[in-house]
Symmetry: C2
Subunit: 211 residues, 2 copies
Amino acid sequence: MPALAPRQVSVDTRRTILDAALELFSERSFDGASTRAIAELAGVTQPLLNYHFAGKEELWRATVDDLFERFRSSMQARFSGLRGVDDVTIAKLMVRHFVEFSAANPQLHRILMQESKRASSRLDWLVETHVRPLYENAIAMFDRLATSGDLAPIPPAHLYYLVTGAGASVFVMAPECQRLTGVDPFAPEFVAAHADLVVDLLIRATTKESP
Amino acid sequence: MPALAPRQVSVDTRRTILDAALELFSERSFDGASTRAIAELAGVTQPLLNYHFAGKEELWRATVDDLFERFRSSMQARFSGLRGVDDVTIAKLMVRHFVEFSAANPQLHRILMQESKRASSRLDWLVETHVRPLYENAIAMFDRLATSGDLAPIPPAHLYYLVTGAGASVFVMAPECQRLTGVDPFAPEFVAAHADLVVDLLIRATTKESP
DNA sequence: AATGGACCTGATCGTTCGATAAGTTTCTAC
DNA sequence: GTAGAAACTTATCGAACGATCAGGTCCATT
C-alpha cells in the first residue's frame, strides 16, 4: 500500500496509545516493552508516541497516572454513597474492592510488582505520587479502628505489611496459581470467595480477644 | 595499561559472574540488566560471559538455579535435625525460615516478582522447575495438618494464595515500607517480630474454633 | 623446550533501541 | 479558496544491545 489514509481529528488516539502501553508495560515491564511494539499494538507508527508524549518515560508515567485515576474513581463511586456504616464494615469493603479491582485490572499489580522490585527513579515517583496517599488512608482507617476499641493496635510498619500484603498477595502469584491448582484466579466467584477469606483473615488476626 | 594480566586457573570466575548477575538481574530485571553491566560488576569483559554460559538466557537460568539451590540447602540444614516436633511447630518454623531467608536474600523475591508479572518462557521454566516443588511440599504439609484435626481445611486454590501470600507479602513492598514508615524492613529484630506476626495470622485464621 | 588446551581479551558483527527531522495530509478559520 | 495549525508518516540518526571470531596468555603435560 502507498500510505495509510491519515485519520485526522482523532482525539482518542491518545487513549488508544495509553491502552496499548498499559498492556505491554504490564506484560513485558518497562525495558521489555519497546515503543515500536506499543505503537504497533495501538495501530499507529512509532514516532507518533513522541508526538503525543515527551518520551518513553513520560508515556509510562501517563499510563500509570491513568491507571491509578481509574482505581481512585472506581473507589470513589463505590464509597461516596455510604452513610451510617461502621468502620469495620468499611474496612472490609475497602479490601474487597481492592481485590476486585485487581481481578478486573491485573495490570495494576503487574506494574506495581515489576517496578517495586527494581531500583529506578520511576519507583520514587510511583511511591510518592500514588502509593503514599493510599497507604496513609489505610493507616488512618486502622488507627481509627484501634482507638475505637474494635481492633488491637499494631505498629505502623507491621500494619503496612499486613494491609498491603493482604490485598496484594492475592494476585502476586496469579499465573502460577492457575497452573498449579487449575483454578482461574480471575473467575468472579473465586474473587468474591477469596476476598471474603482475606478480609476474615485480617480481621480475625487483629480482633481483640474477648476476656 | 596495555592489558590486564590474564588470571588463569581461576575456577571461581563462574561464581563471581553468577553473583554479579544475581545482583543486576534482581535490581534491573532481565531486559534492564545488560551483559556488559554484569561483566563490569564482575570485573571481567563481556565476551567472557558467553564463554562460561551459552547466552544471556542461559546465564539467567544458571543464576536462578544457584539462588534456589542455596534456599533449598539452607532449608535442609535447618530442618534435617528436627525430631519429635509436631506439625504445627514445623509449619511455623517453615514460614519463619522463608521470611528470614527472604530478608537475607531479597534478590529471591525481586526476581520472582519481576518474572511472575510478565509473560515469558522464563516464567514457565521457573514455575515448573522451582516453584512447583515448594508448593507441593506446602500443600502436603497443610493437608496433614487438616486431616490431623488441628486446622480447618481450605480449598487448595485459596490455600495456595494464603501460603505464598503470607510469606511473599512480607517483602513485596520492602522499599516502600522503609520510605513510608521509617523502619528498615531487613533489620533482624523486625524480621523476627514480623515472622511471628505472620505465623500467628496464618494459624489463627485457619485454627478450628473451639465449640 | 615444545605442545595442547583452558581461560580470557580486543575488535567488530548485525540488530534493535529511543529519538528526531522533514515532509504529507486533513481539518479549521477567515 | 486559501493559510495555517494539528495529526500523522517516512526516513534516518547515534547509541546500546547480544553475540561471534580471531587471537593472546598462562599452565599442565610430556
